[in-house]
Symmetry: C2
Subunit: 357 residues, 2 copies
């Protein structure tokens, strides 16, 4: 078994989200990472538990919106209070990574290694994920590279970004590492098929590992304003919350991919496969829930008669469905969604039609 002895290793879980994709179960006050519908525990709780024995709670950080900080602390009571880093406003992932880098430097110094992980994704093979994470941490510690945890695609998904992989990195580890050639945005179906057929593209899962000194240099090169934020956060003379309150409103809204990854030359990418899924829609969610013999997924108070291929989830009024096929029906005390399964990707448009509260 790999381990991270002699490694000053931190895990940073980015926990944002607008709560639109799994409406009405998810809401702005309770985005996807808090849903317990996948596996009985919330996705953010699962994200922390995946690190059991690998990273102690004192070294797990969660960067989240101020409005979600309380709910996050309640969900993760084992984390020290200071490890829930609350952003005063939303400024996309680059600001969150820079802040996290500063907090890790403040706690452990420039040689500490940190992994940026996600709060709302599913990984079916936790053992494989942990193996890749350990290897990536060791690779990041031993080099000045940013190590991205790519995911070997098993279908030409159009919902994810891709990373083109280049030459093998020549590391003697179980996980294969390559030099990253380039990051590309979500492709159309034809391009996605080409990528997957080529064998030289992996999914960009938004997870990557770096030494503090490496990320600092990358920020300085790609987004100087964020390098200043990082340094101010790292400075123990400052209060982290005060620095964030001062800086955040001025920061650009940019992603870490845009600010750093797409520009940096020193990027390694792993080719892992650990049952990763971003689960972007209700119809994608279905793949991760148990179904009956007619293709129905039912959770909560649900009665079905002559129903097929339907997702029915209630956290409020009982759902009683009769003679329908291919629907997503989700009920809470406030709202009921009734959608054709092949239209759930348009949920945002539906929400835009709704009257403001």
């Amino acid at each position: 078994m790999h381990n991270m002895k002699n490694l000053d290793f931190y895990a940073v879980i980015l926990s944002g989200g607008s709560g639109e994709r799994f409406w009405p179960l998810s809401t702005p006050e309770r985005p996807k990472q808090f849903l317990k519908v996948f596996g009985g525990k919330s996705l953010i709780r699962q994200a922390v538990e995946r690190l059991d024995g690998l990273v102690p709670p004192e070294r797990i950080l969660v960067v989240t919106a101020a409005s979600l900080a309380k709910a996050t602390r309640r969900e993760l009571p084992e984390l020290p209070r200071a490890n829930i880093v609350a952003e005063p406003c939303r400024r996309d992932t680059a600001a969150a990574v820079a802040t996290a880098c500063g907090v890790v430097e403040r706690m452990g110094g420039e040689n500490s290694v940190a992994a940026i992980l996600t709060a709302d994704q599913i990984m079916k093979d936790v053992k494989a994920f942990r193996r890749v994470l350990v290897d990536a941490a060791r690779a990041a510690a031993a080099s000045d590279d940013i190590v991205t945890m790519g995911v070997e695609p098993d279908h030409p998904a159009t919902g994810f970004g891709y990373i083109q992989v280049g030459k093998p990195a020549g590391l003697r580890m179980r996980t294969p590492f390559h030099r990253a050639v380039r990051f590309v945005e979500k492709p159309d179906a034809k391009t996605a098929a080409k990528y997957v057929a080529s064998g030289s593209y992996v999914w960009n899962a938004g997870m990557f590992v770096w030494k503090v000194s490496t990320m600092k240099a990358a920020l300085l090169a790609g987004a100087p304003a964020l390098a200043i934020l990082e340094a101010a956060v790292a400075d123990r003379k400052n209060r982290v919350a005060s620095v964030m309150e001062k800086f955040y409103p001025q920061l650009p809204r940019i992603s870490i991919d845009y600010a750093v990854m797409e520009k940096a030359k020193n990027i390694l990418v792993s080719r892992g496969a650990f049952g990763w899924d971003d689960v972007g829609t209700w119809s994608a969610a279905e793949r991760h829930l148990p179904s009956d013999g007619r293709g129905n997924v039912a959770k909560g108070g649900v009665t079905l008669l002559d129903v097929s291929n339907t997702v029915a989830i209630s956290e409020g009024p009982r759902i009683a469905a009769l003679g329908v096929d291919g629907l997503v029906v989700v009920a809470t005390g406030d709202s009921v969604l009734v959608a054709s399964k092949d239209r759930v990707q348009d949920l945002k448009k539906l929400l835009a039609e709704m009257p403001a509260k």
Copy 2:
């Protein structure tokens, strides 16, 4: 304008119902006659208001289940308390009519005329209904016949019973009256088509008018136990509620059609047309609700995007529907129904599948 001067006339509204057909808006505690979804006022309130100026509130009786008496009084505050006649248990329409006959006799005597009306039906042409009612009352007062208010069919419905009409009764009134030949149960589609094509069948709307002495004789001939109940109720020495409590549990569960109408020879039937509908299912209800350009009926908090031919009614959580067609979606705080429109007649089967509370 017809009137009922010199006529001791009572209206008896039968208000039973199991609350299953319009579930979840209707429930055993709030059956169909209390729904406000058709026309903004409850159906039972509309049934009373149709009699405005024709029958004073003191002469309007409502026979209902004891469990619905309180809700009925609240819905019809203008009726004297004693006019809400509460049945201690359900014994079908024959017992209700016998009890009503006794109450009318008690209030007005053997020459009083009463109309049995319904609490949960729709009549679009109130003026025409009132005209037929007045004519039927005059016909009943002037004869020893029971006068049934038949409805001229406009399509071969299989959901109603029919009455075969015979020779004209020879009354000099605007409404045509005929001798009734026979009452028949709900027919199959082929038989219904034959009935309608023949021109000699009308729908049995369950509304009929009689003199107290006429109904007493009919009960004695057809259902002697109910004649005894009638006499005991009519006797002012008895308390109505006490008589009902004593008799009801022993009474047979039979309909007035079975107990009286199908046997009696002295039955007239009117051929009226006043936009009558029994509204038996959610898909039938649709005919009586305003729809948008895509065939959708929406009531309450409802948002629709790319939805067609759908009934969406909320009295609880907001319904948001996306890309669906031909559904009935009804939400209350307790329950959500999602049914294919062509399956709503199987609502009882669905309810039978549900766990007991």
